[in-house]
Amino acid sequence: MQRGFLRAVLSTLLLVGFFVMTIVNVWQSNRIEKNLINLLNRIEAVEKALENNDFGAISGHGRTRGGIFGVSEPATVTAAMSDPKNVFSRDNANWLPSDAKQGGTLNLKMGSDPKGFNWLIENGADVSEIQAYVHVQLGNYHLKDVTQYKGELAYHWEISEDKRTHTLKLRSDFFWHKPTVDWASGRYDWLEGPHPVTAHDVVFMLDLMTNDQVAGAAPLRSYFDELESYEALDDHTFRIRFSTPKYMQKVMVMGLYPLPQFLYANDEVGEAYEPEVIGKRFEDHWYNPMGLGAGPYILSRYEPGVAVELKRNPKFPLGGNAMDKILYSILKDQNQPPRKLRTGELHLSSLQPAQYRAEVLEGDEDSPFKNGQLQGGEFWSYNYFYIAWNADQPYFADKRARQAMSHAFNAQLLIDDVFLGLGERCTGPMPTVQPYYDRSLDPYSFDLEKAKILLEEAGWTDSDGDGIRDKLIDGDLVAFDFNFIVFGSSNEYKTIGNIYKEDLAKIGIKMNVSPMEWANLLKKVDAREFDAVTLAWISGPPVDFRQIWHSSQADLPKGSNRVGFRNAEADRIIEALELEFDEAKRKALSHEFHKLLYDEQPYTFFYTRKSTVFWQRELKNVWFQLTRPHVNTRPFYLEG
């Protein structure tokens, strides 16, 4: 009995022992196999690196090529610079001074999660900023002169006599970055190899942009209405032709960029898409969470909610990339940046007005913002804030009602008191820093009596004595009781709403401030399901009013003329301006347009904001671009 029991226990233990050993065995052999595969992959990678002679890039140290040191210019490029027909000219301003130090990691912040890095379909400011580092375009403005152009990917740009044909010669020393994929898995071997950037890639980009299936490219597409043809004459020559010449075409052609055909034309296993579906497939392409470029930095990592990491592209032929790495921490909390500036976790950040007040205006004398530990500066970007009135709603169909709204808006108080004077009152559809801005127009005064008179003229009276103005529209008595959409996560916008609401109540208008989350807000505004909304526009140096003000854009789904502004005179000026190449005449037309909008008040134009930026002392050669992204850190370098 006793012995039988013991034996049973022993044999059970033995069985369990065997079982455990088997499991351990299987697990171990699995692990060894995996390690072996990894090792083989690494050896292969090292071999390839040796073959391509970029071992330095892999190890992170070693010798540097390209960059500011040893930038060599091909003879063709040098020759092209002296060609009088070339629109491009040599930019004597350099990104970096000759004594700049190489290396280091620059810590920046990003306020939101980018939805993806497909340059063509993502238009957010955050993605555009990354694009400026990761990608190149055909040409660009001179660093310190927005009236001159310099070559980037292209080095020679010829415009025909009739201004319809643009021929560009592309440099042959640009290569696409290596895509960020799981190379070890072997599934992406078809992406392997150096891929030069060619004219076919630019053609591919235009193919996609003109493809109606690519909805995300709609804003850009509206600039290419007169596109007649485009083609790659050879691997490095590109020609584009328009049916009628327009001023903005110059800027748009300069802003063209290639898209990697070897990547976007294929699905995840390397099979080419059918031409009929390529647009649709491109919109939700498997590589869209990442982005590929040929620029000074490589997009090497993106962790949503955590960080975007850019690595230096050692082979970039134009140089101007001193940092080894640029790390964008994603800080959705607006209050984090000043704290991280104090602790040195961020190298540079802009400050919101409230933060500027707390840290600089009311900060302690020995705070890093004042004692010299942090350096400060400011720049004017091409922006203007506004309140948009949906003219398709009964309240704002009459221009007198809109003018009344402008008179009831206490803009100067908001700028001086709430926004701390970090801005300038704006009276028309362009930033006050824009050279064509007409300074002869006085901003609408804050005058409630005048507003009341205008409202009476527009037919808004308080006929039923309930304190709210109303008007008989199509047999219905409509009360002036509307919704004002503001961005809910920002107290600045809510403050605009709160103060405006009180002033409007005094003239018998009821405004409901409805705070909304960003995605929801954009959806409402795009669908035109709003009465009024306060937002801002950012633009570039050349004036162009078609996107926002032309009547053809008013009925376009997702178009930017969200307020339904349809005015024949405005259309005439917009069209005339597009065809005008003479600067003086352009200025006159712009002033005319400015006056028209000043009178119509489709928006209540609010102000152009000045941005304040602070950075660590170790960051050198800090200056801001004239064009977007204003805080482009390519001139900066880290000392020590």
Binding site: G467, N491, E502, S514
Partner: protein, 411 residues
Amino acid sequence: MSQPLLPDVAPPQDQTFGDIVWLQFKKNRVAYFSLWGLGALFVLATTAPLVALGRPFIWNIGEGFSSPWLTGIFDRNYFENPVDIFFNMLLVMVLPITAIAYARHRHILRLSLDKRPRRAKVLKELRIGAGLIFVCFVAILVNPHAEPYTQYADIAEARAEAGEDVSAFFPPVKYMFRKTGFKSLSRPSATHWLGVDESTRDVAVRILYGTRISLTIGIIAVAIYMTIGIILGALAGFYAGKVDIIIQRLIEIVMSIPALIIILVLVAFLEKPSIFHIMLVIGLVRWTGVARLVRGEFYRLRGQDFVTSAIALGYPPQRIIFGHILPNAMGPVLVAATFGVAGAILLESTLSFLGLGDLSAPSWGQTLSEGYSSGAWHLILAPGFAIFITVSLLNLVGEGLRDALDPKMRK
């Protein structure tokens, strides 16, 4: 055989369960005073327009006397929130209510009833009174009063300066919570005791009026989820079996989704989130705890003799559930409710803090949020302290109630 001498004692008092609990509760001094504190908050909330309102009690600019104060507190253009209208109505009705209550009190005393029937009568009258107040409130809501938004203080000042005839008697503070135009983000001073917020409004007045919002949100949200929780919990506990299984699974489903996420999603769909939506939403996600509590109590009580005899007497189920078992199960539920009010107030502050509240209501969470993003300490301290006080008072009362209901804690 000698007998022990019995001392003369009064016959034992007829003590109801409520009496015992109340006596126990009163022994806990902290909880007792907290209850008074809550009462004081309620009085403060109700009387806010007596302290701060932009309309004079009496107004005469040579066109006869009028009282903009009285019309203003029912004005839907001036007070956009029904919560304010309700409290204003209470304020106006304080005198008549006291008079009627006093008269009824005298009347009932004169009937010289015994304790229990008297109490039943008082309860019945209270119910009728509450019903009447509610009917008045609905009548005002359905038939809103509205008049032009007039700046009486400015007019009075302008007329006085021009030497014109004006007689006005204002409340001590001549504006209310929505008045803008002070220096943005001013620090606390003699004129603005708690400073000014980013939207150029006086913080002290906003905190004062915010008491109304917080108390209402707490009470109504809890009332909603108590109702849902009690009904579902009672059904599950009484019928057991399949009903229980279905309701239990429902509870688990609702519990498995974080409340804040549901609320954020629901609020995102609303065009104009008003505080009633927020109350409703809080009410709809928080009932699960109560339902479980009630279900447990019902399980405990279901087998007891008084229930068995009620069943034997052939009473209908609703009478057994609501008339017999529920009153015996209410103790723990009441405790949960007190804590729940505190929780709801905190949740509303969270929502406002996240920028999804009702901008027309002077909620504490909104001021707090402005303080957080602007870094102004006075905008953080004042509402933070108000929330702290209210939530602490509620929690202390809840704790006292819990101890008073627990027979083991009785001394």
